[in-house]
């Protein structure tokens, strides 16, 4: 699986790991990672440690996730992004919407 999702024991935190190229090809898998969960988690962590590349449709997917998680009220963090991936996030100024580290 190129997209893995894990819910913490207390059910409050959902972690989604994306591996390889994060582009339109991962669309369905990425959505499956957070849709149809029994309860909405308080926070979502997107782990990009093993993501090599990110394109604009991946940015769109992050926006969908944020919307699903409650929009402006959501707590979505993007972690472990490589320097190339961070550059792409920075050009789009996504740090204004997501907590990126």
């Amino acid at each position: 699986m190129a997209v893995e999702s894990v819910v913490s024991q207390d059910g409050k935190k959902l972690t989604i790991k994306v591996k390889g190229r994060f582009d339109f090809g991962k669309h369905q898998e990425f959505r499956n990672a957070y849709e149809h969960k029994p309860a909405r988690p308080d926070s979502v962590v997107v782990d990009l440690k093993e993501a090599t590349y990110l394109d604009s449709s991946a940015l769109g997917m992050l926006l969908l996730l944020r919307d699903h998680a409650g929009g402006d009220e959501s707590d979505v963090r993007v972690v472990n992004a490589s320097s190339d991936v961070r550059k792409i996030l920075a050009i789009s100024n996504f740090d204004k919407l997501f907590d990126i580290s």
């Binding site: 604009s56 449709s57 769109g60 926006l63 190339d84 050009i91 789009s92 100024n93 919407l97």
Partner: protein, 571 residues
């Protein structure tokens, strides 16, 4: 064998065999298997029968009189065209060379004498599977081709409609060069340019998420807002707010548009920049040297709700011969076979090495080719040179009314107070009103420029109390505009009054514009006495106003500007 008949669809099988006994034996076997049989005694008959009856499968004896099986196979394959008509050679030949000849002549299989009914049935069945597979492939290929043509046609129509909208602008201006794939629209790339009524130029290079139709649908409303608001005299900030709100409203959550917008004033030699999500654009110095990046400081359009949208622009001074260079992400995101990106550093080296502006695009493309072997088809490049405003000729505004009902004797006064000044630009409304005066329409460019200058002087130097000396050199320019934004956001009192008076004359008439502000005023005689050359970046405003109007004076210690325009009666 009856078992086979049940699950094999009846085929028509052509048997060409010169031996009467073998022919009869084969015909009987094949018929028993439930197929229809056609028989021929030599290759020539076989070809003729094939042409007439188009059997599904052909059994060919290799050695026959008149025309042998090899030649017959070649002719039958030629007649069959793209459809697969399996040919099974009947042969007592056993040498390898002969069998190879059978296959080279177009045979698909062979059957050795003596004939085994079981093997023959199995071979016909296998060949029928191949035949059907080929037929399915051909059918699907044709279907795909039809869909593809359909799609191309739709794209052609969509593009034609869009071009009508997009080419309403001024991309053909003499100081603009651009490079864009003809179907860039379907890559989500968008390039728009238009003159404002004051003769400034608004430019947008945008990139929608995704490809194909979804990427193209947002372009139309975006272009309409861009052209509509630019033509009405709205500034970048208002246009951006409107575009963002519109895209936010109509696009799905995961779609947005990265965009870089410019407002170039060739008269005042400044450029206003807003970049949301596009790669750095560059301000290229006239004499070579370090390009100044135009950095993305905002989220792309269509993501933030209107109340969260940030329309803050940056303002940079321009000099003659400088150029603005914008590009889409197709350039820096081009990757080589090892997934290495072309990147910003390589691009900057190309920019720095450029000596002849006219060759810049070619040099960028060559660098991409050298890097990758082949460049992406979604590369958009735009190059705008800073020229004397006289070199540009904004097209005259086309008015649809007759002019008979033009009001000619009236006056109006507006007072815009702090809260309004903060977030509202009254100029488009005032300009709209003044366009009702037909005699003034020939001067509408000058009128727009003067009114814009008067208003921004009253706001920036008057109400906000900014010292124009701050704009004297390029370095302090940026801090001037930053201070302008800060003071405007914090504004709680002050006003600008605009008084318009239209008077008819014996032959024509005149318009008097008075703009008064709540600021401290300025030393009129001192500022106006400065030679033009010393006024530099800061003094151009007053100079421009005096040059474009018939009469201009400043009273009440510089707090009130009075400017007059006049016109002759229309023939």
């Amino acid at each position: 064998m009856n078992q086979v008949c049940a699950d094999v669809e009846a085929l028509s099988v052509l048997i060409a065999e010169d031996g009467a006994a073998d022919r009869l034996l084969l015909a009987t076997i094949v018929r028993k298997q439930g197929h229809q049989v056609l028989t021929a005694e030599n290759g020539e008959q076989a070809v003729a029968l094939f042409a007439e009856r188009r059997p599904h499968v052909v059994l060919l004896d290799a050695m026959m009189p008149v025309m042998d099986g090899f030649e017959a196979a070649r002719q039958i394959k030629a007649l069959a065209g793209e459809a697969l008509v399996p040919i099974i050679f009947l042969t007592s030949l056993s040498e390898e060379q002969a069998l190879v000849r059978c296959l080279e002549a177009g045979g698909d299989d062979f059957l050795a004498k003596p004939y085994s009914p079981v093997i023959l049935a199995a071979k016909i069945k296998a060949m029928d599977r191949l035949r059907r597979l080929q037929a399915t492939v051909l059918e699907q290929r044709d279907q795909i081709a039809r869909h593809h043509n359909h799609l191309l046609n739709e794209q052609r129509v969509a593009k034609a409609v869009f071009d009508q909208v997009a080419h309403a602008g001024c991309l053909s201006a003499p100081n603009i060069r651009y490079l864009q794939s003809p179907y860039a629209l379907f890559n989500g790339d968008l390039l728009l340019a238009a003159y404002t009524p004051a003769g400034d130029m608004h430019v947008l290079l945008g990139d929608f998420t995704g490809h194909g139709l979804p990427a193209a649908v947002g372009a139309m409303p975006l272009a309409e807002v861009f052209y509509g608001m630019t033509a009405k005299g709205y500034g970048l900030a208002e246009t951006l707010r409107e575009m963002n709100a519109k895209l936010k409203r109509i696009l799905p959550v995961d779609m947005f548009c990265c965009a870089l917008l410019l407002n170039l004033s060739f008269q005042r030699r400044v450029v206003e920049v807003w970049n949301g999500g596009m790669p750095d654009g560059y301000l290229l110095p006239a004499s070579g040297g370090e390009p100044q990046p135009l950095v993305s400081r905002h989220l792309p359009l269509g993501i933030l709700a209107p109340e969260q949208f940030d329309d803050t622009t940056e303002v940079l001074p321009l000099a003659l011969g400088e150029r603005l260079f914008l590009l889409s992400d197709g350039v820096v995101d081009t990757s080589d076979e090892n997934d290495q990106l072309f990147g910003v550093e390589r691009l900057r080296r190309v920019l720095a090495a450029n000596r002849q502006p006219a060759l810049l695009f070619e040099e960028v493309l060559q660098a991409l080719d050298g890097f990758r072997g082949r460049s992406r088809d979604d590369v958009s490049l735009l190059d705008i040179e800073v020229v004397e405003p006289q070199l540009l000729s904004p097209p005259p505004v086309i008015y649809s009314d007759s002019g008979q009902s033009s009001p000619l004797d009236w006056s109006l006064q507006f007072e815009f107070r702090a809260d309004t000044l903060k977030r509202f630009n009254p100029l488009p409304y005032l300009l709209q009103l003044l366009q009702e005066i037909h005699g003034l329409r020939a001067q509408s460019g000058a009128l727009h420029s003067v009114l814009t200058e008067l208003y921004s002087n009253a706001l920036e130097h008057g109400v906000l109390g900014l010292d124009s000396a701050l704009k004297r050199d390029a370095r302090s320019f940026a801090s001037y505009y930053q201070m302008r934004n800060e003071r405007l956001q914090a504004l709680s009192e002050g006003f600008i009054r605009v008084h318009l008076r239209v008077e008819p004359g014996p032959r024509g008439g005149r318009l008097i514009i008075e703009v008064e502000d709540s600021g401290k005023g300025f030393n009129v005689s001192k500022v106006l006495a400065r030679p033009v050359s010393e006024q530099g970046l800061c003094g151009r405003g007053l100079n421009l106003i005096r040059r474009l109007s018939r009469r201009a004076e400043w009273v009440d210690e510089g707090r009130r500007a009075c400017v007059e325009f006049a016109w002759e009666a229309l023939a």
